[in-house]
Amino acid sequence: MSELALRRPLINRRYTLELRQHMAWYWQALILGASLVLGLLVSGAILVAAGVPAGELLNEFVLYTLFDAQSLKSVLFQASPLIMVGLAGCLAFRARFWNLGLEGQMIFGAIGATAITLWDIGSPSLRLPLMILTAMACGLLWAVAPVLLRLKLRVNEIVSTLMLNYIAVNFLLHLMYGPWKDPKDAFPYSPKYESFELLPDLPGGLSLSIPIAIGLAVLVLWFVSISRAGLYLRFVDKSPDVARSVGVPVARTILMAVLFSGALAGLAGLMVAAGQEGRLTHSFYVGYGFSGILIAFLARNNPIAATCAALLIATLFVAGRSLQVFYQIPFAMVQLIQAVLVICVASSDFFIRHRIRRVQGGE
């Protein structure tokens, strides 16, 4: 029997799948890590096929991007809005609310902040804090309608948040091509922010957005793990029916998590506008919504992991930009690599949940 089984080619052997009850965290981490490495290898192969010399790849990606002080700074800089949208995704998804409206909330956050600059509200020293608060409030408000519709009328939030994105985008375009257009030229930009309206650099050259992002990551971590709301959120996430029966305030918990999520997305909008662009532009939000969802997914809705995933994606963004400059690789390639990574991590889940076992002997 066993001899027969040995002689049989690998593919013809029979395997069974078993559901796993539990897996130690280090095994999970190992499988996750291995899948990421696999994803990076596949991505590398694609880049080589697109014409990037294999040797340069390592150079460009790892050495230049991560070990050059200037570009490391730009990775961190790029990471902060990504951390924000990633955390926003984590929070909403933990409440089982599929917030696909991160971009819309981001747009309104940035619009709110820009309104403060255009209407000169507050003294110069108060301006930036006021912009930050307004951005968060506007992002939060843009999330109010879908969450209330979902809780009161059971309107599917996937549709409502996605549709509200279109409204936000078109409203942004209206402002950019209409009333808020920079009078100095004909481009769809708002006038440049004043210097005191920009997120300043800290001594040492790091942007203020980085400590803000890390601070908020800690805040979200506190919210989901140390606060009472975090306990409620775990019930809503893992067993919504039980949550309802044992007295978890399900609606209030979802409302809180989603509004928090919207506020973080709004802040991401401010970080791009007042941190990177220095003004409101017609396309500043592009790609962040997708990246936020993807980061939350890669991180399994864990805020610390989301911060790391955002750094990874930011590295990709920055490296992608230099690849674009030096090798004329289209930026779409970065999105393709993101997608490959997600597929690899998603498939790794299968190995965490199942055990594959060879059928001994037998038919």
């Binding site: 019930f235 044992v246 007295g247």
Partner: protein, 506 residues
């Protein structure tokens, strides 16, 4: 018409998670007869039939089909031997048509031909079979558009077309109106007259008296007796079904003087489509256990949900005397008043399986601020309390408080629920089938907790489909039927009278 045995089971037993669902059960059904399997909920009828249908493997005993010993590896093999079971919960794909559903089930018989060709052939077969047995079914109708009775006919057609000669119907009349039930049972009686064997799993006395040629009575996992229904009186059948008080488990003595009223339910009515609750009234006093007996599906679950705060559409009043209506209380208020809930569905309504024991325990006292203010969860306090409760309530199998609650066995999960609900001295205990699926030791532990709560002055409502449990525990007994309390008894109560009240109003 040969009268040899179609099915014979002897000495079959089956254990679930330490709970003996079947103990040395014997059953014989012959060709050409309608054989009723009568018993209360949880008597083991469905388990026994699931063994015949190849869904469960028996732990002991033997199975003969047509007088040949067989060992079934699965339902497909049972189907090949001509055994077809219509389950209580239909197994149909709702968006598919009747013909598609039936074709899906014939996979192992019809393997040749193009899909459309096979679908056409099945459609013809359905028409022919439906005409023969007098079913009015459109093979192209989608399942979702059919009524419950029509879906049941589809299930029956499904097993007949798969070649079933031994037809098992699990509680077929539970979901039907009087007329529909009559039509169905007349039809299946026809099958038996043509030589098939029909097994009717039921708890309705009427079905047995009017349609069965033989009846086997089950109680507590054992087959009590097989006899001809017209040879005995209804009283005798009821006596056999509900049994005498089991030895060593005497009925609650009674003679207690209950305290003041604590909970008053008035005119409780379901507002959904089905009138599961239909103007239920009851008064529960301090210092007593009020047991609700009744055949399953008479509104017990809906009553339990409404009282426990599990989403359920009802109107009427559930007044906690001097405090207000239960429906208006949030979780914090319920906890503050000392209302403890032990729902029947442990992992559907009481414990979140994927979360830790500590998390599950924390909900008991989270509202009072004992575990820290809103912005800070005092994990240490939670774990200290949980560890103490686990010890005090003898929850076993806890390696760590961070372990998932789903890893606990049924009895220990129930003990954890009680540990949480009783972490403050309860004033009102709502328990629905609290010992379902538990072994003897765990059952006794659970019952002891309920009695202790009563002795400390709590009002205890025990809803159970197990009459033994109600008899053993309750000081007063209300019989629930068709969504209301139809009779009330004080201990010492007459078991026969209760049994009578349970079935007479069905």
């Amino acid at each position: 018409m040969s009268k040899q045995n179609a099915i014979q089971l002897s000495g079959v037993s089956k254990t679930f998670d330490g709970f003996k669902a079947l103990a040395d059960a014997n059953f014989t059904a012959r060709w050409g007869e309608v054989h009723a399997l009568l018993g209360e909920n949880g008597a083991g009828k469905s388990s026994l039939m699931n063994i015949v249908a190849g869904l469960y493997g028996p732990e002991g005993g033997s199975l003969f089909i047509d007088d040949n010993p067989v060992k079934l590896k699965g339902p497909k093999e049972a189907a090949k031997l001509g055994i077809g079971m219509v389950h209580q919960h239909f197994k149909l794909v709702t968006p598919f048509t009747v013909a598609e559903n039936i074709l899906l089930n014939l996979g192992h018989i019809q393997t040749s031909g193009l899909y459309r060709e096979r679908l056409r052939r099945v459609t013809d077969d359905i028409r022919a079979m439906a005409a023969r047995i007098g079913f009015d079914i459109d093979p192209d109708a989608r399942i979702g558009q059919l009524s419950i009775a029509e879906q049941q006919r589809v299930e029956i057609l499904k097993v007949l077309l798969a070649g079933a000669k031994i037809l098992i119907l699990d509680e077929p009349t539970a979901v039907l109106t009087e007329d529909e039930a009559e039509r169905l049972l007349t039809t299946v009686q026809g099958f038996a007259r043509e030589g098939a064997a029909v097994i009717l799993v039921t708890h309705k006395m009427n079905d047995v008296l009017r349609y069965a040629d033989q009846v086997t009575i089950m109680r507590a996992g054992r087959t009590v007796k097989t006899l001809k229904p017209d040879a005995v009186s209804v009283d005798e059948l009821i006596r056999l079904t509900v049994g005498e008080s089991p030895a060593g488990q005497d009925a609650s003595p009674g003679g207690r003087v209950p305290g003041e009223p604590f909970l008053r339910v008035q005119g409780l009515r379901s507002t959904g489509g089905r009138r599961a609750l239909n103007g239920l009234d009851l008064t529960l006093n301090r210092g007593e256990i009020y047991g609700i007996a009744g055949v399953g599906g008479n509104g017990q679950s809906e009553l339990a949900n409404a009282l426990m705060g599990i989403p359920e559409a009802v109107s009427g009043r559930m007044e906690i005397v001097g405090e207000g209506d239960l429906a208006d209380f949030d979780a914090a208020r319920r906890r503050a008043l000392g209302i403890a809930a032990i729902p029947a569905d442990r992992y559907g309504a009481a414990l979140a399986g994927p979360l830790s024991i500590a998390d599950n325990f924390a909900l008991g006292d989270i509202h009072s601020g004992r575990y820290g203010p809103f912005w800070y969860l005092n994990t240490r306090a939670i774990e200290a309390d949980a560890a103490e409760a686990v010890r005090q309530f003898d929850v076993q199998g806890v390696r760590s408080l961070k372990q998932k609650a789903a890893l606990l066995s049924g009895g220990n999960a129930q003990k954890l629920v009680i540990a949480r609900e009783f972490s403050h001295p309860p004033q009102l205990v709502l328990a629905h089938s609290p010992s379902r699926g538990l072994d003897v030791k765990a059952t006794e532990a659970v019952r002891e907790r309920l009695r202790a709560a009563r002795d400390n002055g709590a009002a205890v409502l025990l809803i159970s489909e197990d009459l033994d449990e109600v008899m053993a525990m309750a000081d007063r007994i209300g019989v629930m039927s068709a969504g209301r309390i139809v009779a009330e008894f004080s201990q010492p109560a007459d078991r026969q009278a209760i049994g009578q009240a349970m079935v007479n109003h069905v």
